[in-house]
């Protein structure tokens, strides 16, 4: 059969292994979920056997647990520890190197020798996070060519969720259905087969390498029910008016309260798939003739983040927590036209003290006095 | 010591705006017209404080003498403002020099004379204090902000 973009076909469990080796033969690094002994994170895999078959997870505030069974499922865990930004916008990036030359210096742009990447197992929340980062890194006059170059070469194979862990709340943020943003979309069926849909030419070309058959009605129904099940499995919700709610409650006493627990460790910013703050470091070797500029991930929770001559502008943990949450849920709209939160819930699961972003917004709502006269509601 | 013609000048100075005319007349009774050439002192640090001044024109510098160095100017007072409050509070001695930075026209008000009148006429006393208080509060606040500025702004000789 020859599928078109948007039409559905099925390939077998073995077909996934074939898919991985085709991608590798084409020169892609295949990045996929992988259980590394501690957690399931996105890492480069060599074969489909590296996928976390039989692994499942559960999460609560400050707690993530993995368990193994005999299930043939390869994609039964929720999200990987960090999103795909680890690969699209790596924690350390060489921006340029420079050599002394005469009285000046010569700037050398790094050659991008990285192999293109195929992301296998991208969840709904992560697709939206990638779309958010696509947008923020391509602002007019302020674009980031490193991210855009990696992104352009990347191939996205999404997998629709059929379950949620308790920290998930993507239903409050346009999830968990996957409708766009992928080259290939997969639904892992109970039989071990995969329902596949190409979303682009790249995806179609890939599918053409596999043995495909038409799906039957039951398989279509099973796939269609997966996102519903994932939605039904969510108990947390994010207040839909968080943007204005937070904007008019900057001086709430709640910020001091959450600061009593917040360690300002920055875990939330490290696992959040949309956080993008970085710092820049200029280094030189011992001879002083070779210099490099590196960009590395940074967090608004560090005391130095808002440091100017005279000291840090956000001394209080309450101010730093407030900065993070109001940026993510409120000011992001003014900057980039959408919320910065995709509802993945990682910040809740990986916070050592289990601070819950949805709970904090609900607490603000509880004491909110409503829009004041003269303010936009 | 009634000086003809000073009444309107006193009444029009911002410090006495809105004052009851009867009270104003008592005040005028303690007034004198003064002119200071540039560099001349209105009063000297340590001397008995027995006047205050309504500055009508010119700039008055507040200079402080500290042992071991030349005196230092810390503030100037503009036309429309008043200068001198030590006459109101013991030990009734000036805590700084006041010196004309340019030609200064002022009306001096005899503090000793006015103090006695205020003691006897509490309403008059209240009117005077009511006007002094906000000015001193404002100057205190401004000087606190100046301390913030000096502590936070860069500058030479740190």
């Amino acid at each position: 059969m020859t599928p078109g973009i948007g039409s559905k076909s099925v390939f077998s469990s073995d077909g996934l292994a074939t898919l991985v080796s085709i991608l590798r033969n084409q020169g892609y690094r295949v990045i996929a979920p992988h259980y590394d002994g501690v957690a399931v994170a996105y890492a480069e895999i060599e074969t489909a056997a590296d996928l976390p078959q039989g692994w499942s997870d559960e999460a609560e505030g400050g707690k993530v647990r993995y368990s193994k069974s005999d299930s043939p499922s390869r994609f039964a865990t929720s999200q990987g520890v960090q999103g795909w930004k680890r690969y699209l916008y790596p924690p350390r990036q060489l921006l340029f190197s420079a050599e002394r030359a005469g009285s000046g210096f010569r700037v050398v742009e790094p050659k991008n020798k990285e192999a293109p990447m195929a992301f296998l197992g991208v969840r709904s929340c992560e697709l939206r996070a990638i779309a958010i980062q696509d947008h923020l890194f391509s602002q007019n006059g302020f674009a980031e060519p490193g991210y855009l170059g990696r992104r352009r070469g990347a191939l996205i194979i999404a997998v629709e969720c059929s379950r949620a862990v308790s920290t998930c709340f993507c239903a409050s943020a346009d999830g968990p259905e996957i409708e766009a943003g992928f080259d290939l979309k997969l639904n892992e069926l109970a039989s071990g087969d995969y329902l596949a849909e190409a979303g682009s030419e790249k995806g179609l070309v890939l599918l053409a390498h596999l043995i495909l058959r038409d799906p039957d009605k039951a398989e279509l129904a099973e796939a269609a029910g997966q996102a519903e099940a994932a939605k039904a499995g969510q108990s947390r919700q994010l207040d839909p008016e968080a943007k204005d709610l937070l904007a008019r409650n900057l001086e709430s006493g709640r910020w001091r309260k959450v600061a009593e627990r917040c360690l300002t460790c920055g875990n939330c910013t490290m696992v959040c798939p949309t956080c993008f703050c970085t710092t820049v470091e200029d280094v030189t070797d011992l001879t002083g003739t070779h210099a490099e500029r590196w960009r590395s991930w940074d967090s608004c929770f560090t005391i130095d983040y808002a440091h100017i001559a005279g000291g840090s502008l956000r001394q209080e943990a309450s101010a730093r927590y407030r900065q993070w949450i109001t940026h993510k849920l409120s000011t992001w709209h003014g900057q980039f036209g959408s919320s910065g939160c995709v509802g993945c819930g990682r910040c809740i699961a990986w916070c050592p003290v289990g601070i819950d972003i949805t709970e904090e917004v609900a607490a603000i709502r509880a004491e909110d006095r409503g829009p004041q006269k003269g303010e936009a509601s | 010591m009634k000086i003809e013609g000073l009444g309107p000048l006193v009444a029009e100075h911002p410090f006495f705006a809105g004052m009851d005319p009867a009270a104003l007349e008592i005040v005028v009774g303690c007034c004198a017209n003064e002119v200071f050439k540039p560099g001349a002192y209105l009063y000297r640090q340590g001397e008995p404080a027995d006047k205050f001044y309504l500055v009508r024109d010119g700039l008055v510098a507040i200079e402080i003498y500290v042992p071991g160095r030349p005196p230092i100017a810390v503030e100037t007072v503009e036309a429309g403002e008043i200068i001198g409050w030590s006459w109101l509070t013991p030990p009734f001695k000036w805590s700084n020099d006041a010196r004309a930075a340019d030609t200064v026209r002022a009306i001096s008000i005899d503090g000793a004379c006015l103090r006695t009148k205020m003691e006897n006429d509490r309403t008059l006393g209240y009117e005077i204090y009511k006007r002094f208080m906000p000015i001193m509060a404002r100057r205190l606040l401004q000087n606190r902000i100046r301390i913030v500025e000096l502590a936070t702004e860069p500058g030479g000789g740190e």
Binding site: S103, F105, D134, R152, V280, R295, D304, A306 | I62
Partner: protein
């Protein structure tokens, strides 16, 4: 992927510096010096008053520094720098002939057209005159567009007045009023002593038809704005420039955020009414 941000070519990398030679080093007030820079590649360097560059010292680091020259002078790029940290400390030791990296110009410039037809008052102090000088130059180039022009400048003492020659020169013009206020002075000093806000209170401007350009540290911006309010200058006619930690200058590192704005692209110049609510929230 039509219309997708990635469907056109990759943009140039805004993180690569351009080389400029230090043509001249001039000592200003203690702890402050000025560089005259010329591009190694012989090209131009247009900028607008109020903008800044990221200046790079080989292997040491980069700092955001306002441009302080006359935007109409294309012969040299002028930066006045105060020693404040590890990078500027190294900069203070550099000599004419050495080469630095420059990225920019960045930032929202002073909106000179906003002041057309009104009186103009500049309120600044210490090194604040550096980011304001290009605007003063431009206003004087178009002097006929404005009513009264008043410059209020404050410093610690008479020994650290920045650009004293320029202030004297401007004071000498019959169409500019210059008020210099110092925090302390030797006895016998004939000028104003106090805060620069005091000079604003007595400046000869008509409040309701005045545009104010304020360049002070953030802690001193509020007192200056308060003094302007007292004179009847409303917040929508007061322009300020602020400062934040900047690591990239191009809206990518996130550090310079001030409420919903990125100070490197939505600022550092702001109209005060746009940010007035944020100003009163602690540590925002």
């Amino acid at each position: 992927m039509d219309g997708h941000p990635l469907s056109h070519g990759l943009p140039p990398d805004p993180m690569l510096p351009r080389q400029f030679r230090i043509a001249k080093v001039k000592a200003e007030v203690p702890g402050v010096f000025t560089w005259h820079l010329t591009p190694l590649d012989g090209g131009g360097f247009a900028y607008q008053a109020g903008q800044f560059n990221m200046l790079y010292v080989f292997g040491v680091g980069e700092v955001p520094i306002s441009i302080s020259g006359d935007p109409r002078d294309g012969s040299k790029l002028i930066h006045t720098i105060r020693v404040a940290g590890s990078v500027t400390k190294v900069m203070a030791k550099m000599k004419a002939g050495e080469v630095v990296g420059v990225r920019g110009p960045f930032g929202r410039p002073w909106p000179i057209e906003a002041a057309y037809g009104s009186d103009v008052i500049f309120v600044t102090g210490t090194i604040g005159l550096a980011p304001l000088r290009p605007l003063i130059h431009e206003v004087l180039h178009q002097r006929e567009q404005f009513g009264k022009v008043v410059i209020c400048y404050g410093s610690r003492g008479t020994g650290d007045i920045l650009y004293e020659d320029d202030l004297h020169h401007w004071r000498g013009r019959f169409d500019v009023n210059v008020h210099v206020t110092v925090h302390s002075a030797p006895a016998g000093y004939r000028g104003r002593v106090g805060s620069v806000a005091a000079a604003v209170r007595v400046a000869r401007i008509t409040g309701d038809s005045t545009t104010a350009f304020v360049c002070r540290s953030e802690s001193m911006t509020k007192p200056a704005v308060d003094a302007l309010h007292e004179r009847g200058v409303t917040s929508d006619r007061i322009w300020v420039t602020l400062e934040r930690n900047m690591r990239c200058g191009v809206g990518l590192c996130g550090h310079c955020q001030f409420g919903p704005t990125f100070m490197c692209k939505d600022g550092p110049v702001y109209r005060f009414d746009e940010i007035e609510p944020l100003f009163s929230v602690r540590e925002v």
